[in-house]
Assembly symmetry: C2
């Protein structure tokens, strides 16, 4: 399927996250090409731009084919330097800002770095508070702050609860607690009391038993915990519990953390706390 | 400065992260307009598209002005439905995929959702491992795994170490430990032994004392811990320590978690463990 290899550069005067995110989405549409990916952030000076051009041209020589460059640079002079390189330039801001200015009837501010600066004391606080909330309410150790949770994820050990809670916190400022379902909960098919009173906040995670076994095997090799029998039994129990209490749940097996998180927001109707 | 208010929709057949990230960067260039932001993910059916159109048109009525729509939808039929709405459509894939196909000399795969699917068992494992590494090596409680760390962040309490470590883990798969500098370390201006042997991995965080005091005040109101004197002394001590050992460090005061993280990667020359 893969017929050739190219390098893709994501270049920005800021963090590079916008050009990276967009560039990757676009490249994913070309599955016949294998792309090596390089991010060059903070290209906010003539000097940095010249260095980037040297790097791009060197890569072009090495690959024997022009790299693709996704840039989100606002400063015209810096962008001009980049466009002198031997790459195929996808000029993100250039493509959209002019048409948008026309449609909106106002000029945009072409200040360097402006586009990437998302600093805002209030947002920072919301995110940090959400991260600490996730950490303080991880793994069921404490349940007394569940009244402050936006959502409480439940699931068996290693079904993806903790990373999902942290992603919800960092990306969206959502306060997510998590509670691991134990054999006791699963044998009785009863929700623990601490969870029953917050039933409307519960969201279940499930996972295919063989995938779960593989993940647990990495952690505790050859253990009962990682055996396919144990994993199958726990997953079946968890799903039975979700059905019994009519709780929403998703299967995380073929999903990224981004997908799990955004589906939970969507299905549980959560409000993002960040703008 | 703000002259009007509009609504911006970020619409996607997947998580919505690409259209949101790009849309926000573009909107940040228009500081004379206040945008209310709405993300509608998983618009992957005719039905979902029709519902989105109803919502957009209703918003247009309410605002008295057309919303802006950033969409990353691959399916032509679904996109056509969206374009029938009363919004200003910024068609992200439409704008870039054709020119890219031409430049690269191959067709792209216009499969629904393809663009957003970043599921890959190996990446999942790397990210999860990095998250658990950050959690297990948070706050200096354990130092024996520092040999496996890619970077060890040091700084005073509440200077942003933990959220940064978690962001590095989730976004880049980087294994980041963190160690809080205590009064003992700062009084002696000596690095603890556990850190000295990993000196090449250390990266310092600093923060303006008044900002630190405000953050700590939220946590422990009217405490010595949150007093401006204590904060000033700790920050001065931390910076003196960084200088004494010639450690790289950044000031997190006016930076987002994304900026802190990407600057650390850039300045410490860290390798991302994800693609």
């Amino acid at each position: 399927m893969v017929s050739s290899k190219r390098t893709a550069f994501f270049i920005s005067d800021g963090t590079g996250i916008t050009s990276e995110t967009l560039g990757r989405s676009l490249l994913a549409q070309f599955d016949s090409i294998e792309f090596a990916q390089v991010t060059i952030p903070y290209v906010d000076s003539i000097d940095a731009a010249n260095q980037a051009v040297i790097r791009i041209n060197k890569q072009a020589d090495q690959d024997g084919i022009e790299p693709v460059i996704f840039d989100t640079i606002v400063d015209a002079e810096i962008r001009d330097i980049l466009s002198s390189s031997r790459g195929i330039l996808v000029d993100v801001f250039g493509s959209f800002l002019r048409p948008l200015e026309k449609a909106l009837g106002v000029n945009s501010s072409y200040s360097v770095g402006k586009s990437h600066s998302i600093v805002d004391d209030q947002s920072y606080k919301i995110r940090i508070d959400a991260v600490h909330f996730a950490l303080d309410n991880d793994d069921g150790a404490r349940t007394r702050h569940y009244d402050q949770a936006d959502v409480i994820l439940i699931g068996v050990s290693r079904s993806g609860k903790t990373p999902t809670c942290l992603y919800l916190a960092l990306q969206f400022g959502i306060r997510a607690a998590n509670y691991p379902l134990t054999d006791d909960d699963l044998d009785d098919l009863r929700l623990p009391k601490a969870l029953q009173i917050h039933r409307h906040k519960l969201f279940g995670l499930s996972i295919d038993p063989d995938r779960l076994a593989a993940i647990r095997e990495e952690r505790k090799s050859n253990s009962k915990y990682a055996s396919i029998n144990q994993c199958t039994q726990e997953v079946r129990g968890a799903e039975a519990l979700y059905h019994r209490y009519n709780l929403p749940y998703i299967n995380s097996t073929h999903a990224s953390i981004e997908e799990i998180s955004t589906k939970i927001i969507s299905e549980a109707g959560l409000n993002r706390r960040l703008a």
